[in-house]
């Protein structure tokens, strides 16, 4: 198997595992379909934007949860925003943590919220690493004369 075929195989397997393990869902597939010649870096750009926003929101949540008297409405509104953006790019695990996070906000459960915040951080880091691997493989494929395989 030549290098290009090997890389393409690697990408296909890796991508399949991301879906299988629930890191990404159909919305991510759609995101990839939106990329075209007029915006060849679309997915990378949107994903970067998402990670930036995620960091900001997490910092805001952390600050709010540190307060003597926690404003759970505020925490909830940050979680709601994160849930929305993670959902729209297909970051399934992060979105699911947000769903649980919201119920802890509604129950005004500080411990529960802090646990969810930790989980968000964890999932954020994992997804970042995974997508970086994905993008690197894609770039290597293109550099070796291939084109990114179409999603099913």
């Amino acid at each position: 198997m030549d290098l290009l075929s090997q890389l393409q195989r690697q990408l296909a397997d890796f991508t399949a595992s991301l879906y299988r393990e629930g890191f990404v869902d159909d919305q991510f597939t759609q995101l990839q379909k939106l990329q075209d010649e007029s915006s060849p870096e679309f997915v990378v750009e949107v994903v970067s934007l998402f990670f930036e926003d995620c960091e900001k929101l997490v910092n805001n949540m952390a600050k709010a949860l540190e307060q003597q008297v926690v404003d759970f409405k505020q925490v909830d509104s940050h979680v709601h925003q994160l849930k929305g953006s993670s959902s729209s790019i297909g970051a399934a695990r992060i979105k699911n943590v947000c769903i649980a996070f919201k119920t802890f906000c509604e129950a005004q459960n500080r411990e529960g919220c802090l646990r969810c915040l930790q989980q968000v951080n964890h999932e954020h880091a994992q997804l970042k690493t995974n997508l970086q691997t994905l993008f690197t493989l894609e770039r290597q494929i293109v550099a070796n004369g291939g084109s990114i395989p179409a999603m099913q």
Partner: protein
């Protein structure tokens, strides 16, 4: 899901422009969306970027803003050249309902057309949107097919039918 089903009943099954599985391969295939001037209002950066691209993929000419104020300002200075407003319902400062209310104060029910974006699963969201003078509702996260279907339905209803 019930929201989607309700709309399906009202669709006229004319030519199937977006046959299942083909919509993503022919992004600008629908002539009725090509050049459609849209103003997209969403305060979330990520959502706004994704929805804008989605609308552009369907052939629309999109101006994206991040607040109700910017939306109203753009509408009032563009001499009514925007055909459609796509509006996130949940925004800080001024929510989508308020924006729609103010638009309808000065503009007729069919120009511009207003489609709401919402993550809400409330049953009465459609009624509330109608009351505010909106023409359509799309559930988030937004899908290409969902957007295309709702755009077509709303345009048809407004008499610019297929």
């Amino acid at each position: 899901m019930s929201l989607v089903l309700r709309f399906q009943i009202q669709l006229s099954y004319g030519r199937a422009i977006f046959a299942p599985g083909t919509s993503s391969e022919q992004p600008n295939s629908n002539p009725h969306f090509r050049g459609l001037r849209v103003i997209l209002t969403d305060d979330d950066d990520v959502n706004r970027t994704v929805t804008k691209k989605l609308l552009e993929k369907l052939g629309c000419e999109v101006t994206a803003v991040s607040s109700g104020f910017e939306c109203l300002s753009a509408l009032s200075s563009a001499e009514n050249s925007f055909r459609l407003v796509v509006l996130d319902l949940q925004m800080p400062e001024m929510d989508g309902f308020e924006v729609a209310k103010r638009i309808r104060k000065f503009c007729s029910r069919n120009w511009p057309l207003i489609i709401a974006l919402t993550a809400s699963a409330e049953d009465n969201i459609w009624e509330r949107c109608l009351q505010m003078g909106m023409n359509g509702v799309i559930r988030k996260p937004v899908l290409l097919q969902g957007m295309a279907d709702e755009l077509r339905r709303v345009l048809q209803r407004a008499g610019e039918g297929l």
